[in-house]
């Protein structure tokens, strides 16, 4: 009932096309993340849904209601900004009570709903404080409580974790997820953080330059990206270009890289091989190279390996398994199934 769909929505600011010809549907009850680099139009999309701005062309439908030009106050949508945007002159209680007061609910009803909301975000006892007397994480939770207390049809979150430090971020992240599950509310979150997107969402909408690059589950976006941009934006990628050899390999000037069959594709292709799918070993493997660069990252170590053909490969090795030093020769190998042929890249002569 509360799915949101965009059809051919465009929004420009002067000469800048913030969102261009966007069509997508966000399903009811799902947690959808809009992921994209800074300036890709994420905030613009949210403000179009929330009714803070109106599109130049196209339609936005919420459930079975066309809300394209419905004023923000009549949309029943909860919104949380990155900057929290709490009312500085009101107590925490009054902040959360605000949407109920403008709906003219009874004092008793307001009290019980605000208390429920405070309990839900674990802030009971702080209702008399002012926003500036709370920590960043607490302010964020107040903003969240205020956005859900009036039972909105959808919840919109604009980079809700960006202003928090790393440890707090993980805490609030799981709280948001738990809250969304408990309320079963359709949620759209904007972020430029790929880890956040992958860990929280049922579906990810990857945005680039105001256009949808790809829509899919976190697994699909990460392991089966459609474009080089999608592959490169989520995690590190080794791109392998060359002609597809029917015997099961991509062959090019950079070497011969065994891969499984690539469906319909023939000719020149671009394959994706994630650093964690590569095994480095002194024993003979698929391609040979020399370790040029070692970065220790705690859980894993990242190696820059220069192949004999001169091409650099990024390799992740977990734990203490097979430690290598700079200048050491290594063999790289992988499960040929792990090379993903990008369906929308290649074909041209490189």
């Amino acid at each position: 009932m509360t799915r949101v769909s965009f059809s051919q929505v465009s929004k420009s600011f002067g000469a800048v096309k913030a969102v261009s010809d966007l069509s997508l549907t966000v399903c009811s009850g799902e947690f959808t993340t809009i992921l994209g680099p800074s300036g890709s139009g994420k905030t613009t999309m949210l403000s179009l849904i929330a009714g803070i701005s109106q599109p130049n062309t196209g339609r936005i439908v919420l459930g079975d209601r066309d809300i394209t030009f419905v004023p923000a106050a009549k949309r029943n949508i909860g919104l949380v900004f990155q900057s929290y945007a709490l009312f500085p002159h009101m107590s925490i209680f009054d902040n959360i009570a605000f949407p109920l007061r403008v709906r003219s609910l009874s004092a008793a009803e307001i009290r019980s709903r605000v208390e429920d909301a405070l309990r839900m975000v674990r802030l009971s006892g702080l209702e008399a404080r002012r926003p500036h007397q709370l920590s960043g994480g607490q302010q964020q939770r107040v903003a969240l409580a205020r956005a859900v207390v009036f039972k909105p049809d959808i919840l919109l979150l604009d980079e809700p974790l960006a202003a928090l430090d790393r440890k707090l971020r993980e805490e609030v992240r799981s709280e948001i997820r738990a809250l969304q599950r408990a309320l079963g509310i359709t949620t759209i979150m904007v972020t430029h953080d790929q880890e956040e997107a992958l860990s929280l969402s049922d579906r990810v909408v990857l945005l680039s330059g105001g256009r949808v690059e790809q829509i899919g589950t976190p697994f699909e976006i990460y392991h089966q990206p459609r474009t080089r941009f999608a592959a490169g934006f989520l995690g590190l990628a080794n791109f392998i270009e060359g002609r597809l050899d029917p015997a099961g390999a991509i062959v090019g000037s950079e070497g011969r890289f065994p891969c499984a069959s690539a469906g319909e594709r023939t000719g020149v292709v671009c394959g994706l091989l994630r650093p964690e799918d590569i095994t480095a070993s002194p024993e003979k493997g698929f391609v040979r190279g020399t370790v040029r660069d070692v970065v220790f990252l705690g859980e894993i170590a990242r190696y820059g390996v220069e192949l004999d053909t001169g091409r650099m490969m990024t390799v992740h090795v977990g734990g203490a398994v097979g430690r290598f030093t700079e200048g050491q020769p290594v063999w790289l190998s992988w499960d040929p199934e792990r090379i993903w042929i990008l369906p929308h890249e290649g074909g041209a002569v490189h």
Binding site: A50, G51, A72, A73, L79, A85, L86, F87, V102
Partner: protein, 267 residues
Amino acid sequence: MNARSRLSTVWLTVVGASVLLFLCLPVLIVAPMSFSSAQSLEFPPPSLSLRWYENLLGNPIWIDAGKNSLMLATLSSSAAIVLGTLAAYVLVRGNFPGRHLLEANFMAPMIVPSIITAVALYIFFARIGLLGSFTGLVLGHTILAVPYVVLIMQAAIRSFDIRIEQVAATLGASQRQILTMVVLPNLAPSAAAAWIFTFVMSFDEVVVTLFISGTTTTIPKRMFSELMLQVNPTITAVATLLIAFNLVALAGLLLLTRRRGFPGGMG
């Protein structure tokens, strides 16, 4: 620090101190003179007394002028706050053609020499029959005060995060509820500062008042006409009281704008 820059620091201090002294000179001379026992304006005073203050407070003409000035300043600055704040909100948050023209129009009384405004008001009020009335005087002072209110309140509204207003809208608040429940409470400190500022301005205003006030007397107008007739040290007592009043107002302004925790504050 080398000798050269030390020299320039000394220079800067000397020049700064001299300018400050020059600016304070009238105060340093007028205040002691008001406590003089002499019959004429004399500096330094031969001996101290409060006779000129007694003279001032015992004179119904001065008391009347004081009442008029207070009433005039209160009414005109209050009217200017209401009009100027609403105008500033529309100018900052509005998005309509001719906005800049409208803004220039609100600022005009600050830029146009007050003698021009005075003449214009004189002719206009004469036409509509308000010349010499107290209402006309309040209107005139309001017009002079509005640009300063618009200026101060525009700065305050600009520094108030627009996203707070946008969130209020998504929470279901009407435009009017956003203004009264969210925006205005946060602008209160700035509005109070603007009110004090325009109150003091109205209290000191003389040019427009001379033209349009008719028989109504205000303190500055009375001072002016007193000086034309005879030089009487009562003037120095009035001046000293005005200076003290301005200092108190200034302190009030500083206190208001220093306040923390309000995004609408000027400080």
